[in-house]
Amino acid sequence: MTNGEITIGQGKNTSVGMALGLRVGFFLVAIAVAAAAVSFVWTPYDVTAIDIASKLIPPSMQHPLGTDHFGRDILSMIMVGARYSLVVALVAVSIGAGIGVPLGLLAASRKGLISETVLRMNDLVFAFPSLLMAVMITAVYGAGAINAVIAIGIFNIPVFARVTRGAALSLWSREYILAARVAGKGSFLISVQHILPNLGGLLIVQAAVQFALAVVAEAGLSYVGLGVQPPDPSWGRMLSEAQTMISFAPWLAIFPGLAIMLLVFGFGLIGDGLNDHLNPRIRRAR
């Protein structure tokens, strides 16, 4: 009652700033999506064509971002590489959320054996570092983009399960959940109709963070040669190949690195912005 008086007017100023962040985030991700889409029909140069004569050219009019040690155009490679980064991130996060969120909801609604089983399985997955897990999977089933996606996806499951369970548990103690129980609804209906929508903002933020991490993870796997296989270009492998030449051809590392950073940054901004935008209470203040 009286506490309410203190918070008057909050959210008004921040929501405008967030809306700007949201727009910038969408803009950055849109660039990546557009680059990936355009690369299917057109790239400045063929990414697989090797042209030793024009190797290691610094950024210039012919090659806006320069060329690598095989004479391949960096801009073209980044455009094609965007496809892999986006698809890997999207599929990996979908696997994680698609399995993790239901598990988390289940663990929150049922106490006892089910909840414990879910949590201990989470611990099991958590116990292995994500990269090690990916190395294990690709070592057994072979290196490649699909196995990399599966490895990153599996690592995402416990993250989503945990976040969902934690937040759902606090929602379960709310009065409106009691009211729904008085209305005769069981734990499945309550989870789907009340808990999940109220977790929406949180999960979207988490998804954006995981998107960013998945982009980095894919880059990391490709960096050690376990992700996207040559001759398909990948941002991560471009970085790893640039490593030995960074002193005399820094553009080889700068541009793929910048691409990774801006995409991760874009997803982060989207996550933050959507969280505010989806909350009806803050939306009203705008």
Binding site: M1, V182, G184, K185
Partner: protein, 536 residues
């Protein structure tokens, strides 16, 4: 000379004016009550004096404390005054204390921030202060943690922190609102004693006029950021010329008009037989934990057309009993019957059939709705209980009708709950409970969180609905004045048992059990307080 003087204080946040030309004085050894409904600016006034306004607030006017103008002091200067010269006590004793620090250390901490003395001396001051507020070290060792203490004892620790440096001014914002009536009486008596013994000035901010009548010397009534009425308590409460003050007083003592000639049905609508509810006690490393018995062999009946009150202080088991009655928790033994039928063990369908006859309105009008649902969906949720839920236009019509029945408009159905005030939300909650046409509605502290004027309206609505629809109510509450105004029969609960029950008028006139006597004596009552305060 006045200890505190406020002249033409204006506070605004953004473009919204919060306080408007507030002026008041406080002498040492005096208690000033600041009363008003939520949003009237009473808490903001207290925060302004303590220099705790949010950073976005703009302040004009003078606040003169003890001869120095503090209204333009910066935060650093204020930190010196706060704690040393101005003590502050907030509403919630659960959150005002640090849960991982012993009570002695918490009091000593305040001392050491303001005085450069040794830990030992600070603890000595803490020891003395805790003894003054009624927590002597012999019974409450200083190495206790807040969770070892009850709500009232925690509030005493909070007061001890505020009092440790013998401030000249104490600001208490709703200090007893979260406490039980018997505890409230103790804390208020403690305040009076501190003011009398140490000659401090006390500003008591509360929505409860009875608390002010009992404690304060002078009172300021606030409305929409302005002080509309101010003067000695006796004068203001007996014959104020201000209409608003009179309305506030009338609402505080409000009794809804009820048609008394309602026939009480012969068969109980709701019956609880020998209900026992136990919780697992604190887990022990070895051996079995002793269960805690929250509800101990309780039986009660509610007949058709009857309003029954279940009163008791926090922790007496009334909420557990209510959850069991609603079928949310299972009783260890005993049974709940609705229309003679007991809750089935695990059959969803039969459970639903019984549930449509008993519905509930919860205390918190802000937490009782899913914030992402519209009013229409929220009310329609209870259709789930019906075997043949109405659909489409029929459902729409029913929801519109029920909204009008509780005093809202049918156009409100498409709004979100946050677009309504607390009182309106409580109306929506009542509408949701009514939609399945239940025989009995349980009201879990349903009017406790509301302002007095809104409370009067909701009580009217409830009385009117029960007359028209022939429903029974089960009021579960700690608020005895509401119980007195609207129930036919009262049950008094203590430590999981029902210690006394009887018709409301008889029980309030001639309480038999000593606990009931204590409970009734502790209710702050305006008329009684005014009589005892003025010997003339």
């Amino acid at each position: 000379m006045a200890l505190l003087e406020i002249n033409d204080l204006n506070v605004s946040i953004g473009c919204t004016p919060i306080l408007n030309n507030v002026s008041l004085q406080l002498k040492a050894g005096e208690v000033l009550g600041v009363a008003g409904e939520s949003g009237s600016g009473k808490t903001m006034t207290a925060l302004a004096i303590a220099g705790l306004l949010p950073a976005s607030a703009k302040l004009t006017g003078d606040i003169v404390f003890d001869g120095t103008t503090v209204s333009d002091a910066n935060d650093k200067e204020y930190c010196k005054i706060r704690g040393r010269d101005i003590g502050i006590v907030f509403q919630e004793p659960m959150t005002a204390l640090n849960p991982v620090m012993t009570i002695g250390d918490q009091v000593a901490e305040t001392v050491r921030i303001h005085q450069s003395i040794s830990r030992r001396d600070a603890l000595q001051i803490a020891r003395e202060t805790l003894a003054i507020v009624g927590l002597p070290e012999s019974r409450f060792p200083m190495n206790r943690y807040p969770h070892n203490l009850s709500g009232g004892q925690r509030q005493r620790v909070a007061i001890a922190i505020a009092m440790a440096l013998k401030p000249k001014l104490l600001i208490a914002d709703e200090p007893t609102t979260a406490l039980d009536v018997t505890t409230q009486a103790e804390v208020l008596a403690l305040f009076r004693q501190l003011v009398k013994d140490d000659g401090i000035g006390l500003i008591l901010v509360t929505h409860d006029l009875a608390v002010i009548a009992q404690t304060a010397d002078r009172v300021a009534i606030m409305k929409a950021g302005e002080i509309v009425d101010m003067g000695p308590v006796g004068e203001i409460f007996r014959d104020s010329r201000q209409l608003y003050t009179r309305a506030l007083l009338a609402n505080t003592k409000y009794v809804p008009l009820r048609t008394t000639a309602r026939e009480v049905g012969p068969e109980p609508v709701l019956e609880a037989r020998n209900v026992v509810c136990e919780y697992a006690g604190p887990r022990k490393l070895f051996g079995k934990a002793a269960p805690f018995r929250a509800v101990d062999d309780v039986s009660l009946q509610v007949y058709a057309n009857e309003n029954v009150g279940l009163v008791g202080e926090s922790g007496c088991g009334k909420s557990t009993l209510l959850r069991t009655i609603l079928g949310l928790d299972r009783a260890q033994s005993g049974e709940i019957r609705i229309f003679g039928q007991s809750f089935p063990d695990d059959r969803q369908r039969e459970m639903k059939q019984l549930r449509q006859h008993i519905q509930v309105v919860f205390q918190d009008p802000f937490g009782t709705f899913d914030p992402r649902w519209r009013v229409r969906q929220l009310i329609a949720e209870n259709f789930y209980l019906l075997d043949a839920p109405p659909t489409g236009m029929e459902a729409r019509k029913k929801i519109d009708e029920i909204l009008e029945k509780v005093g809202l408009r049918s156009s409100d159905a498409s709004k979100f709950p946050h677009e309504f005030s607390g009182g309106q939300r409580q109306r929506i909650a009542i509408a949701r409970a009514l939609i399945t046409e239940p025989a009995i509605i349980a009201l879990d502290e349903a009017v406790s969180a509301l302002d007095v004027s809104i409370r009067a309206q909701i009580l009217d609505l409830l009385a009117d609905l029960s007359d028209r629809l022939g429903m029974s109510y089960l009021f579960v509450t700690h608020d005895l004045s509401v119980t007195r105004s609207i129930t036919d029969r009262v049950l008094v609960m203590k430590d999981g048992r029902i210690v006394e029950q009887g018709p409301t008028a008889d029980l309030f006139a001639r309480p038999a059990h000593p606990y009931t006597v204590e409970l009734l004596g502790a209710i702050p009552d305006i008329d009684r307080a005014l009589q005892s305060a003025s010997p003339e």
